[in-house]
């Protein structure tokens, strides 16, 4: 029981514990005065980071999430490198590339046609190819979408096949990772920026300003996000960065601002804020040097969930064909479904599954990392 209480104590008040540590160092005679401030800060940061990292790694899910994000990150980095070295842009460009992959088809009777990816009916074959072919012949037809090929003597490698327009899916998938990260980070940083600013200002000044900001937040929280974005995308041409900023503003000014405001309120009443004020610190100084740095860790948590939302929203809007974007995972699914492969299922699995799973997994990764961080910040959720 005793140990439980003490560990609980230094988990909940990390700042105080850190302060005590430096104080001990002072007593131990380390010459603090000659040490530059940034180095002390760095050391404190490293120490708290190490402890939090230890807590984070306790949840295996968080690690899995990090690995997923890292894999997608590698994919995003790999794409421009591959494009400038191995891949011929004419063939592999995710948007304008084209490769007609020749596939062997067996000609069968019309009513015996079972597998559309390797068989062709006699009527179609005579009509489209050559009136002289007969049942049982094998013909090589350039076809899209083509199944995955590993390359070899005559064809080029398409690890995930090609789409209905003859473009390489693997290249699209890597490019899509880049797009997703770009969008995710724009949205996340906007969220954090808006949420911390609004939250801190509302908490610090209180009164009417607080009331106004919080009512606005309530209102934004109430707005159905997807329909509004759909209308907006029909009205104006939206690209990736604009979408990221819009999601960030709506997300950051809504629920996150309310949560961060309550966090900022709990910091506002701490005694070191009074100390800073007595020492002559102005409003701006207190908000930017004391309140915001203490609110940021929590806002990073919501940033993770924000990335999840942004990725899903972009993919959904792209899937509906409403964004002014050339290529993304959502567009890949949109292409497949508008070209009539919506119910192709496993026979054209490379059209729907890579993109769908990529969106799901990356969102999963960020969500799980967010949960892991939540357990670090919120001790009550931790496994005892």
């Amino acid at each position: 029981m005793a140990t439980k209480e003490t560990t609980h104590l230094d988990e909940t008040i990390p700042e105080e514990a850190e302060a005590a540590a430096t104080f001990e160092e002072l007593l131990a005679g380390r010459d603090v005065a000659t040490e530059p401030l940034w180095r002390i800060r760095l050391r404190l940061f490293r120490r708290s980071f190490a402890k939090n990292w230890g807590l984070f790694t306790e949840s295996k899910m968080g690690i899995v999430g990090l690995i997923i994000i890292a894999v997608f990150g590698l994919m995003a980095i790999a794409h421009p490198i591959l494009m400038s070295t191995v891949w011929d842009p004419v063939i592999y460009d995710p948007v304008s590339g084209y490769d007609a992959v020749f596939t062997e088809f067996t000609i069968v009777e019309d009513d015996a046609l079972v597998d559309e990816t390797s068989e062709i009916g006699i009527t179609d074959a005579r009509f489209e190819l050559n009136p002289t072919v007969d049942v049982g012949d094998t013909v090589r037809i350039p076809a899209q979408p083509a199944p995955p090929t590993l390359g070899g003597e005559e064809g080029r490698a398409h690890f995930l096949g090609t789409d209905p327009q003859g473009r390489d899916i693997f290249s699209q998938l890597l490019y899509g990772a880049r797009a997703a990260f770009l969008l995710g980070f724009v949205a996340a940083f906007t969220t954090v920026f808006i949420a911390t600013t609004v939250g801190s200002i509302a908490a610090y000044y209180g009164g009417k300003l607080d009331g106004f900001l919080m009512r606005t937040a309530d209102l934004i929280l109430l707005m159905p996000l997807l329909p509004l974005l759909i209308v907006l995308s029909a009205v104006v041409q939206i690209n990736m960065i604009m979408l990221g900023i819009m999601i960030g503003v709506l997300g950051g000014f809504g629920g996150d601002a309310i949560i961060l405001k309550s966090q900022a309120l709990s910091i506002k009443v701490k005694s070191y804020i009074d100390a800073a004020r007595v020492a002559g610190g102005g409003d701006g100084h207190i908000i930017f040097r004391h309140i915001i740095p203490n609110v940021v860790p929590l806002s990073l948590l919501y940033m993770m969930f924000g990335v999840t939302t942004a990725i899903a929203l972009e993919a959904t809007l792209s899937f509906l064909g409403l964004l002014n974007i050339q290529m993304s995972w959502g567009i890949m699914i949109n292409t497949a479904s508008t070209q009539g492969y919506l119910l192709s299922g496993t026979s054209y699995w490379w059209l729907l599954f890579p993109a769908g799973l990529a969106v799901s997994f990356l969102a999963f990764g960020f969500f799980v990392v967010g949960r892991g961080m939540d357990e670090v910040i919120n001790p009550r959720l931790r496994a005892r």
């Binding site: 159905p224 029909a234 959904t316 969500f367």
Partner: protein, 385 residues
Amino acid sequence: MLRFLTRRLIQMFILFIIFLSVVWLLLHLMPGDISDTLIGDPNIPLSTRLELQERLGLNQPLHIQYWTYVTNFFKGELGVSFSRYPQDVWNILWEAIPRTLVLVLTATLIAYWMGFKSGKLIAWGRGGKTEQSFIVGGIFLQTVFYPWFAIVMLWTFGFFFGWFPIGRFISVGLWQGSGFDASSIFQQLILTTFIAFFVYLGARSIIKRAAPTLVTQQRLQRVVAGLIILVLVAFWYYHPARTYVADVVWHTVLPVATLGLVLFGAVMLITRTSMLETLGEDYILTARAKGLPKGVIRDRHAARNALLPVVTSFVLALGTVIGGAIITEEIFSWPGMGKLFLDGIIVSDIPLVAGALALTGVLTLFAHLVVDVLYTVLDPRIRIS
């Protein structure tokens, strides 16, 4: 309670006006005026365009236009659809609302009921493989790319196994010449379910007063619930439109299950967290010291309190529900408000889009009100102060 309700209603009215204004602003961001879109449409006569311009006040200054728009809404005049000229938008939406409500309400209720149950159970039996797999599954459902998930569900159960129909909400051939109207059947389905629910509530309160012991109370409640379900099923079984009702239900299962599953994941995770927090409370220790059976501690004490944050969470889940409904209707070709809305966007049918959005706003606010009332009923601390 009454004062709380009136205050809340006034707040909601203001919120709604703001929402209407945002919709209006968004639609006015479009270049040109709304009626321009009609010029190229050969189906619509020029006189109509002029008449419309007059009625919407499009040749008047902006603030007058805004005023006309708001007052028209409250007069119930949502205008005439461009794409389905000359149908009235209100009539089009009126037909679609019950379909959307059936989809959304059943999915939400089932997801909350099951999500709450399983969240409660995994938090109670903490640790172990079951909990871990439920958590991973829940997170997957919450983060899965919904349109893709819907496509996979449709393909798997509608196409590959062929258990459920692919798309639309009735088998058109079956209904032809039947003399039954799908919309009225839908409305009847909703109505009877509501009646059954309120009959159950009434019976419950009578039982609470009349039964001599708590044990008999619980037993009677279960018997009554069973009886009401039996009567409901029997009513539809002997209903003249039996086959058509079955057809509707058969078409409903897959979209409801798809939307419900995604919600289920979120509800389960929230319940689990909320339940874990509740289990650490002192009154749980008291309940154990009182020698109450495990099930009573779990359900009556822990879960009952864990329910409060779960109910509030519905307000935040509404966004998911609305977005999910739009996607579900699109992929399953379910002719509800979401599908109308998307179709309207694609063909720039502005009156239809504006109408659908405004009604979504009304329904959202109504859902908020229901959650508020439910919360006050569930938490005596709010109810009394």
